[in-house]
């Protein structure tokens, strides 16, 4: 095969049009203030808490409380400093919490995209018995609150073996507590992501598969080289919708993590609510900490927002 010969995948992909539908045309609504006024009001409603959080993170506690009754609460005015940020780093090991949350969240997102997209592909493209029932069961798990099976899951993971590496070899230990495994593995498979991928893959013409099969591609090749490249918005949406709850994960780490060096950022928030201090609740530090842990969320959303909106518009799935 020559180097520039078309592969089955490229042939099939070339035959396809991206299945995304065009977003609503701006057309005649452009310049109509009645369209923009409610949108601006809505945007302001969502932005105000962020402004309050960021502005307050630079103010001393007393000024935050004094500003609460005026618009000054949302503005970076008054006695501004970085003291709250310094206080945050004094009070909690922020870097360590960030590291744990980043490793866990990125691992879950990346592994989740692989596993869930493959599951979605199988459910959307492969013909096997009980496919509909299987998808129904997966969707049904969405209505079961995590809190109801959290403790049984603790029992389960505490009885699983784990290989622990030492400088002089490795050992087999029982129980996953205080490990990255316990924070990552239970959350890789995600019913909502599987459903999202299934829906999205169904919207891609099946003729692509047939063309690829004629060219000799197997199912994995079709998944990897034909269908997945066309499912960018689904991947982006799944990434965002997986990232958010994992970054905000709180209950599960409380149950399975006892060591401080394995705690994620949301558990760190509770360090600021210790009682019996003359200074009272350190609101300035709390705002500084929440600002710090919100930045990654905003960055991820900004990175993927275009594809996110495109996916929602085309698959009819809302998070």
């Amino acid at each position: 095969m020559s180097s520039n010969a078309p592969t089955p995948a490229t042939t099939a992909a070339a035959a396809a049009k991206p299945p995304t539908r065009p977003l609503r045309s701006s057309g005649t609504d452009k310049g109509n203030p009645w369209t923009y006024i409610p949108l601006v009001l809505l945007a302001v409603t969502f932005v105000l808490p962020l402004l309050f959080m960021i502005s307050s993170s630079f103010k001393p506690r007393d000024q935050i409380l004094a500003d609460l009754t005026s618009w000054r609460a949302f503005l970076p005015v008054g006695d501004l400093s970085l003291d709250n940020y310094a206080g945050v780093f004094d009070r909690v090991p922020v870097g360590q919490f960030f590291w744990v949350s980043t490793v866990v969240t990125v691992s879950i997102v990346v592994l989740g995209l692989i596993v869930n997209s493959m599951a979605g592909f199988a459910l959307a493209r492969l013909n096997f018995r009980g496919r509909g029932v299987l998808l129904g069961i997966i969707i049904a798990t969405l209505i079961v609150p995590f809190e109801t099976f959290a403790i049984p899951m603790v029992y389960l993971v505490s009885n699983l073996p784990r290989v622990v590496l030492h400088s002089d070899g490795f050992a087999l230990r029982m129980g996953w507590a205080n490990s990255y495994e316990v924070l990552i593995i239970p959350f890789i498979a995600n019913a909502f992501s599987i459903f999202l991928f299934t829906q999205y893959y169904r919207s891609i013409p099946k003729e692509l598969d047939e063309a690829a099969r004629v060219d000799g591609a197997g199912w994995f090749r079709i998944y990897r080289s034909v269908i997945s490249p066309l499912a960018g918005p689904a991947f982006a949406t799944s990434a965002i919708l997986t990232f958010l709850p994992q970054w905000n994960s709180y209950l599960w780490p409380l149950l399975v993590i006892q060591q401080e060096n394995m705690r994620p950022v949301q558990v760190g928030m509770r360090y600021f609510f210790a009682s019996a201090t003359a200074e009272g609740t350190p609101w300035g530090q709390i705002m500084a900490y929440t600002s710090l842990i919100t930045i990654p969320v905003i960055l991820v959303f900004l990175m993927f927002q275009r594809a996110f909106i495109s996916s929602i518009a085309s698959s009819g799935v809302k998070g």
Partner: protein
């Protein structure tokens, strides 16, 4: 040998190696050399003052012995109980555990905590409410106690010609009602008293059940702990519920408050019902004008909430750890450490001899909080010593939030009784 056989042999070899690695360390993490490690959990992460004292005790203890080494793990208070429940489920509890006093019977009943081995002579000098007893055995001991008090200001009460109550002569119910009315009518404040109704934690049970008990009611039958019927819905309890609801309906008290209870310091209320942990903040604001008052006597004597965080041993301790853990507990119960805890928290030192060692100016002879020690001894009533307490507390909190919101008092009490009795019967705590 085919590939499958090779795989099986390799796996078996790996497991054998792993097994030998496992066996080099015992369940308590001791590898046979050096001191035996003893893990201790605290609820004080983020509380600089408490952590400082705990660290010092541990450092001093570890320096005093070659046999044991106490290793600390810190948890933030709000997250602590959930972490313990998770660790209990996975059998990862530490050897020494920090526990909130009223929860102790539940953790003991679950088998998470075991009798500590402390004797009566070990705790002879301690305030009764700082010693956790269950089934006639000492499970836990605490370095301090907290109690409910009323904060007000001398200038306000004297300005309105309201008598300043004392432990010897607290306000009577009618005196207290009259004082509230007089404050409200003065127009100087938005409300007369802040009861802290927005607190979603255990505050409702801790703070309001003593008022209920002062009316003659209670949360549960303390003779049997088998039912709340006839107690929580008794005429006395109903009288309290109606009186309490009226506080909000009549505008004497706000239905909500700031998380930091700032209303009192901002002079929007004249009286704040709080724990003595609020002293530091309030004193910073008002200085010597601040009054710390006992609660009123609503007929059955004044009652205050007592019982706070304590330390005990868990089922996870191995035999050799148990010995060291008990030794550590005794070591940590020295007056000098108890005094240091009080200095950094403003809470009541667990022993009167420690109170004399405090340097913060709260509990020494003639100092402003000195009266809290005898007051908590005289008026303190521990929360029901039953494994059912977590559910009792949760039900009480939820139902009394409904009461504050305006629900019928009789209905609130009857519903509380139904839910508490349902739990007691289902869990069979008494069998």
């Amino acid at each position: 040998m085919n590939r499958r056989t090779i795989g099986v042999v390799a796996m078996a070899a790996a497991l054998a190696v792993a097994g030998s690695a496992c066996s080099s360390q015992d369940r308590d993490g001791w590898d046979g050399t050096g001191p035996v490690p003893i893990t201790l959990w605290t609820h004080s992460a983020g509380n600089e003052g408490e952590m400082e004292v705990i660290s010092q005790i541990i450092d001093d203890y570890n320096a005093s012995t070659d046999a044991y080494e106490v290793v600390r793990q810190d948890f933030p208070q709000d997250a602590y109980n959930t972490s313990v429940q998770g660790a209990a489920a996975s059998n990862d509890l530490p050897c020494i555990l920090d526990v909130d006093g009223p929860i102790m019977p539940n953790w003991a009943w679950n088998g998470w905590l075991v009798p500590s081995g402390l004797t009566e002579s070990d705790v002879a000098n301690f305030l009764p409410s700082t010693v956790g007893r269950y089934n006639d055995e000492i499970y836990t001991v605490g370095y301090w106690d907290a109690t409910t008090v009323m904060f007000s200001r001398r200038s306000v009460l004297e300005g309105l010609d309201i008598r300043i109550p004392t432990v010897e002569q607290p306000w009577t119910a009618s005196e207290f009602d009259d004082a509230l009315r007089r404050i409200q009518d003065s127009g100087q404040f938005d409300h007369a008293v802040d009861w802290g109704p927005s607190d979603q934690s255990e505050w409702y049970t801790y703070a309001f059940s003593p008022l209920l008990q002062s009316f003659g009611g209670d949360l549960v039958d303390r003779n049997t702990y088998a039912s709340a019927d006839g107690v929580l819905n008794s005429p006395e309890s109903l009288a309290f519920a109606e009186w309490f609801q009226n506080q909000f309906d009549s505008g004497l008290a706000p239905r909500s408050n700031a998380q930091d209870r700032t209303e009192f310091r901002n002079e929007r209320v004249a009286i704040q019902y709080s724990g003595n942990w609020g002293y530091l903040q309030n004193y910073t604001e008002f200085g010597d004008d601040l009054l710390v008052l006992p609660p009123p006597d609503f007929g059955d004597g004044p009652k205050v909430g007592v019982g706070s965080w304590q330390y005990g041993l868990t089922r996870t301790c191995t035999d050799r750890q148990r010995e060291g853990a008990l030794e550590y507990l005794r070591f940590s119960m020295q007056d000098r450490y108890i005094a240091q805890f009080s200095d950094v928290t403003s809470l009541i030192p667990a022993t009167t001899t420690a109170a004399e060692l405090t340097t913060s100016g709260y509990y020494g002879p003639g100092e402003p909080l000195e009266f809290l020690t005898p007051m908590s001894e005289q008026f303190g009533l521990v929360r029901p010593v039953t494994p059912a307490y977590p559910v009792i507390s949760q039900v009480f909190q939820q139902q009394f939030q409904n009461l504050v919101a305006g629900e019928d008092p009789e209905q609130v009490l009857d519903q509380s009784v139904r839910e508490i009795d349902a739990d007691i019967n289902a869990a069979r705590y008494n069998r």
